[in-house]
Symmetry: C2
Subunit: 420 residues, 2 copies
């Protein structure tokens, strides 16, 4: 008799946690991801701002599952799921499953303005991060050679759309990059004159954080020279910059840190999704009427006890993956009882800049240097492989002492930005 087949789509926080926790079960586990690496997304902004190298925050999925003889990894792109025939369909093969865990994550959402994508890239993959890094650094290079003050100002203006953790972190990191790492490297421009604008549609930065910490974050960013504009919606994005309300902000670099939208999981499964592309699942994270198919992470719309959906956090995805692994272990052991996913809030953190962060642990709120130390330690701890932890630590200590940025490389296809 062949063993039960468990297929996991996606090796992000949710999918990988499930695969890890399925070690040793009496089933074959297949992980399918279009990339060969698991990405520690919370630190992606550091790659985009030249603080870390891609390999510092990514690890091959195969390496993680090396010691799991019942697990195999396929680098392939899912195109559909045949729920009736119980098969996952990719461009080149069909992979049969008895249990399916769908965890493909989310991409940037431009709220219907898909033409904005080319002018305002989002930050979801390593290629996104290195492309944004090249754009940011090339903007300074071109400003150094700019023919007019108007051009120079536009090239030295950076707009972040969306003031969630990524927008806040990017704004702080670009301000520090300009004012610290680049400060003495140019002759024709003064990187201190860099303009960083953080635009947020809602009334405050860091939606979801307590008001006091949001206000602290705004003040901290402003002290670093970042212009924070809340209650401000972007109405147009072009190669020349953004329009907010009636105001044009000329900017060579616009980075999209706003909406996310689940990867096309509704299309794969042939089910309805809500506005953000997420698929509704039950308390055990399974699809209605498909008790063997689970959707977790950013692709899932699971409801908290208060009726709101779980937030799109790495820790939610990870715990959901662990939950489904536990549930499948029980099922494989013959236990058909029902389980409900419960989220254990281990805290939420966001960093603002050097020595500055905010953190919420239940009723405990931290800010400033202490929060930053907690943030640093937590992120080093969370990075999966020891090698990454060690290297990231060395680089952080080095960057902290020197204000330097080690990965200031412009790579990839030369993108001539518009000059004049």
């Amino acid at each position: 008799m062949t063993k039960p087949q468990i297929v996991i789509i996606g090796a992000g926080f949710g999918g990988l946690a499930a695969a890890i926790d399925l070690r040793g079960v009496d089933a074959d586990v297949t992980v399918i991801d279009k990339r060969n690496h698991h990405l520690f997304q919370p630190l992606l902004y550091q790659v985009a701002t030249a603080g870390l190298s891609p390999a510092d925050i990514a690890v091959p999925v195969r390496s993680v599952l090396r010691g799991h003889p019942n697990a195999r990894v396929l680098m392939d792109e899912v195109t559909a799921v045949d729920l009736t025939g119980r098969q996952v369909i990719t461009a080149t093969r069909r992979v049969p499953y008895d249990y399916l865990i769908v965890a493909p994550g989310a991409g940037a959402s431009y709220f219907g303005h898909d033409t904005w994508a080319g002018h305002a890239p989002g930050l979801k993959s390593i290629d996104d991060a290195t492309a944004i890094r090249s754009r940011i650094l090339a903007a300074f290079e071109q400003a150094e050679m700019a023919a007019s003050e108007t051009d120079r100002a536009r090239l030295m203006t950076f707009v972040l759309v969306g003031a969630g953790p990524t927008g806040v972190e990017m704004a702080g990191a670009i301000a520090e990059l300009a004012k610290r790492a680049l400060a003495r490297d140019f002759r024709a421009i003064d990187p201190n004159a860099t303009r960083v604008v953080l635009v947020e549609g809602g009334p405050a930065v860091l939606p979801g954080f307590p008001g006091g910490l949001a206000a602290y974050t705004k003040r901290s960013l402003e002290r670093m020279g970042v212009e924070v504009r809340c209650d401000t919606s972007v109405t147009e994005v072009t190669a020349d910059g953004v329009t907010v309300g009636e105001t044009d902000i000329p900017a060579a670099t616009v980075i999209w840190c706003a909406g996310v939208r689940a990867v096309d999981v509704g299309g794969w499964l042939g089910v309805e999704t809500e506005r953000q592309g997420r698929v509704a699942v039950g308390a055990d994270l399974s699809l209605p009427s498909q008790p063997n198919v689970f959707v977790i992470g950013d692709a899932a719309h699971a409801e908290m006890p208060d009726g709101k959906p779980f937030p799109g956090l790495a820790s939610v995805a990870k715990q959901q993956g662990q939950f489904v692994a536990r549930l499948l272990r029980a099922r494989l052991g013959g236990d058909t009882g029902s389980l409900s996913f419960r989220y254990r809030d281990l805290g939420t953190l966001a960093t603002i800049g050097r020595s500055s962060a905010v953190a919420v642990f239940g009723r405990v709120m931290l800010r400033g240097w202490l929060a930053w130390v907690v943030w640093s330690l937590a992120h080093i701890y969370l990075l999966i492989s020891f090698r990454n932890r060690l290297l990231v630590f060395v680089q952080w200590v080095w960057a902290y002492l020197t204000f330097g940025r080690g990965a200031r490389l412009i790579t990839g296809p030369t993108q001539k930005q518009r000059t004049g």
Copy 2:
């Protein structure tokens, strides 16, 4: 009175050495490079084989020249030189010079078979290295999913064309990657079955090294499982592999480590070049009849006392840059005496694999572990910035202890390799 203008084209070993040694002269120094970073090319093969990250072997040119107030850096692409008007011409500007140092380096040469370039990429830039890394790693991923044994064998065959230091280093590194770092990561394939073929047109590997060391290198590679084929010319390269003589070697990955050809410096200057695109220069490295224009490094054909051209080594380029800087210092000081470039041979090294290398220092020859230690220390020392040295050291120690490879990332546009 405006200061004399010294323009340097290229921030490789030669150009950067000249710029560094022109610190403090009473002249304005402008360095023009199409990239923003100086690249430590001798370790590029380690990026291509997932041992190091790009940022470990590259440093922004601006950072290097930060403390040189008389130096500025332009990231721009040279299209021509107006020798009569004394201007360097780029796509967007004209840069006047009084003294010009041309040091643009070399690229891969396919000996007239330019269609081979797409199938057999060369290894000259960071983008080359990350693209080759993606190709190598993706070949194993596709082999894991291959439909037939024929496909699998083709995907697991790697051909290196040219057995100079780069070819030898790549062959050794791919063999070690497969047999060590990847050994336990796959389920359907055995990475130990990887076939690495090193093809060399000449009679021995490492042309230019003493025969004894070449023979030792060949034996070492063969012990590592590399097939070394000397006296063998490649007659065809396609998406399916290479043809050597009458034999087809089916291979999904072919890497070009053979000829180099100077960047189009003859075209810029409007002068004749020899077969490898190099421009003949006099004993003081200046162009005949252009005493203020110097060509150095891989773009220059300067003759050694025995009438042979200087080899295309980093140390030659670096010493030539230092020589021209010294000559210009003398000229700016009013000394019009003539100087002749002399090369001081500090030794030649090539690494074969873990704990194995060859080295020549004058009459002293080293091989094996001791040569490898010397090679490691020399390369760590030579890496320009301390941060790079420290990180590379940490990673090497780690890799040595664990056999692991830290940078196994497949990034960039997904290149679907031909499967069947």
